[in-house]
């Protein structure tokens, strides 16, 4: 690393790399481009209603993706979020209904404060599972991929076991409001999604905790030598992910008016896709929730656009897959240029 710099330690001239710049803003540029093209081609795309439609479609996976962003920033992964969502959903449905008699046959829950209790049960369960998985990962040292892969299977099994494979359906208006209702023109799940994006961004950029997450993900050894509690820190992101999965489980159950055993199946991969497209590095230390928001929106708008344009729905996953690879490709190109 011998430099020809004669001034002092440092003092190299700053160069703005076009590839580097492009790779950072590629998802946003692509999103804006897509929106612009669709707005011209399809008048129906531009409506407020369609915008909220897209937002509502991405909100559940978006919420999962926010928790996932924290996890991936520490170079971890959480494959269990889809299964946690289902388990939290079925548990919260049971809590809402309260007694065994209500679980079958379309009798609704009592509503009122019982709904709050159900929501807290879902979130609490998610955080508890997150704490358990986080402890195995950060304290015992089992790879995150293994622990949460186990979780992916186990919590799905727990969901099936809980109600013997039967869905729990039909809830009060109080309950379904959270998934189906509106605050003004904005669907309630979208409000949760946007608020969580804002909180996530503030926490990551402006608080000590956020800074430590980046330090831990970028160089765990440096974090440890700087006196950070890397075990607690490393486990905490799985609690955040569990919180998001629990909340998503409640919202999904409310939205579908039913807690299904297959709820959230494959959502973990969509959440990871949103995070990766949004520019958060799987190696940790780099990225953020604004990027994840853009990544989730990009997937949502793309799916919406393909539907409106009447493209064969089987093409959608192929396009999303291509975008995942492209977004990381740009990042790699930028890195190679930097060396």
């Amino acid at each position: 690393m011998a430099t020809t710099d004669a001034a002092a330690v440092g003092g190299e001239k700053r160069s703005i790399d076009a590839v580097d710049l492009f790779s950072r803003f590629a998802p946003l540029i692509f999103l804006l481009l897509l929106v612009a093209v669709m707005s011209i081609l399809e008048p129906g795309f531009r409506t407020e209603r369609n915008l909220f439609n897209v937002l509502r479609q991405v909100s559940i996976i978006g919420i999962l993706a926010i928790g996932m962003t924290f996890v991936i920033l520490t170079a971890g992964i959480d494959l269990s979020v889809g299964s946690m969502l289902a388990f939290a959903g079925i548990v919260c449905a049971s809590v809402a209904k309260g007694t065994r008699d209500l679980l079958v046959g379309g009798v609704t829950d009592p509503g009122g404060s019982r709904v709050l209790l159900a929501a807290l049960a879902a979130i609490g369960l998610g955080m508890l599972i997150g704490a358990f998985q986080g402890t195995l990962i950060a304290r015992i040292g089992i790879p995150a991929f293994i622990v949460t892969l186990g979780g992916l299977t186990a919590w799905r099994g727990a969901t099936l076991l809980w109600s013997n494979g039967q869905p729990i359906s039909s809830f009060s208006d109080d309950f379904t409001f959270w998934g189906q209702g509106f605050l003004g023109p904005v669907p309630v799940p979208v409000v949760f999604f946007l608020v969580l994006v804002a909180i996530g961004q503030v926490v990551l950029k402006y608080t000590q905790y956020g800074r430590w997450i980046y330090a831990l993900g970028g160089n765990p050894e440096a974090a440890r030598l700087s006196g950070l509690n890397t075990v607690l820190l490393g486990a905490s992101v799985y609690v955040i992910s569990g919180f998001c999965a629990g909340l998503a489980g409640f919202l999904q159950t409310s939205r579908l008016n039913s807690a299904e055993q297959v709820a959230g199946q494959g959502f973990e991969l969509n959440a990871i896709a949103a995070v990766v497209i949004g520019g958060t590095s799987l190696f940790g230390g780099q990225g953020g929730v604004i990027g994840t928001f853009i990544g989730a929106m990009l997937i949502g708008v793309l799916q919406n656009a393909l539907v409106i344009r009447n493209v064969n729905p089987y093409v959608q996953p192929i396009v999303v897959g291509a975008i995942i690879i492209l977004s990381v490709l740009f990042d790699q190109l930028a890195k190679q240029r930097r060396r």
Binding site: M1, A8, V9, G10, T207, Q208, A215, N219, A222, L225
Partner: protein
């Protein structure tokens, strides 16, 4: 700089005696004793595997030793973590720098010791970025360290610039002693000169610097005292004003034991 005759009158800042460390069957350190006095630069030299880094790691709390005693600032200590050593004013520049690559210089300098805003915002952990930046600038100005682009992520800086941040961080926080493991190994000529200058400046404020180096001209340029390790033992104490580089190399490799007291060296 160091007045030898006054050593007996002064208490060392750090005194380690009889330090022994094994890694399984491998003997990394055997009965090593070292004293560090205020206002001196001590160079630790030795061949690969001589135990230099292990010794520094023990003295800075990264490793715990199997046997031996450490007296720091007049008190017997046994560090169980690097954090404990840091909280007592012992700072270290590690060989691999131990920086967070995706954070900027200010964030790295304050990592683990961030200032938070006053009041409720602080309780919630909100950072006082302006205060940290202001303090970084004034401290670095005082030490005459130039770190350009304080706001840039370190991953976008050159190796030399990153080294500058790591050294600046240690120097800024050290109140008792600074350890540096190969601080100039990755640097060019100008940057090396700057780090050596910095070592002198720190020493002149009374804070001793202990550094590991393979670069003999560097060692002889800046050190007040040279401690030679070989196969986990201290084999010589050299005075760079009278000893030669050949003496140092001989002691390191153990080839010819012609290093003798009276020639400015004492064979241990």
């Amino acid at each position: 700089m160091t007045l030898r005759e006054s050593d007996t009158l002064r208490e060392p800042v750090l005194r380690a005696s009889g330090v022994t460390k094994h890694f399984g069957p491998v003997r990394a350190l055997h009965d090593v004793s070292i004293e560090v006095f205020a206002g001196e630069v001590v160079a630790l030299i030795g061949d690969n595997g001589a135990g230099k880094s292990t010794l520094v790691n023990v003295l800075t709390g990264v490793l715990t030793h199997d046997a031996g005693e450490m007296v720091f600032d007049g008190r017997a200590v046994r560090f169980s973590s690097p954090h404990e050593a840091r909280s007592l004013g012992i700072e270290t520049v590690y060989q691999d720098l131990a920086i967070a690559p995706h954070l900027d210089a200010v964030a790295n300098i304050f990592l683990g010791r961030e200032y938070v805003r006053p009041g409720l915002a602080g309780t919630l952990g909100f950072l006082d970025s302006e205060r940290m930046e202001r303090e970084t600038k004034s401290q670095l100005g005082r030490l005459r360290v130039r770190v350009p682009n304080l706001g840039r992520r370190l991953v976008t800086l050159s190796g030399g610039q990153r080294q500058g941040v790591a050294v600046a961080r240690a120097v800024m926080w050290a109140s008792k002693i600074v350890f540096m493991d190969e601080p100039t190994a990755a640097l060019g000529v100008a940057q090396t000169a700057m780090v050596l200058d910095l070592i002198r400046q720190v020493r002149d404020t009374g804070i001793p610097v202990v550094f590991i180096s393979h670069n003999m001209p560097n060692v002889f340029e800046v050190a007040d005292r040279v401690v030679v390790l070989r196969l986990g033992e201290v084999v010589a104490h050299l005075d760079p004003r009278t000893a030669s580089i050949d003496d140092a190399v001989s002691a390191m490799t153990g080839s010819v034991r012609r290093v003798a007291a009276g020639e400015g060296a004492t064979v241990g």
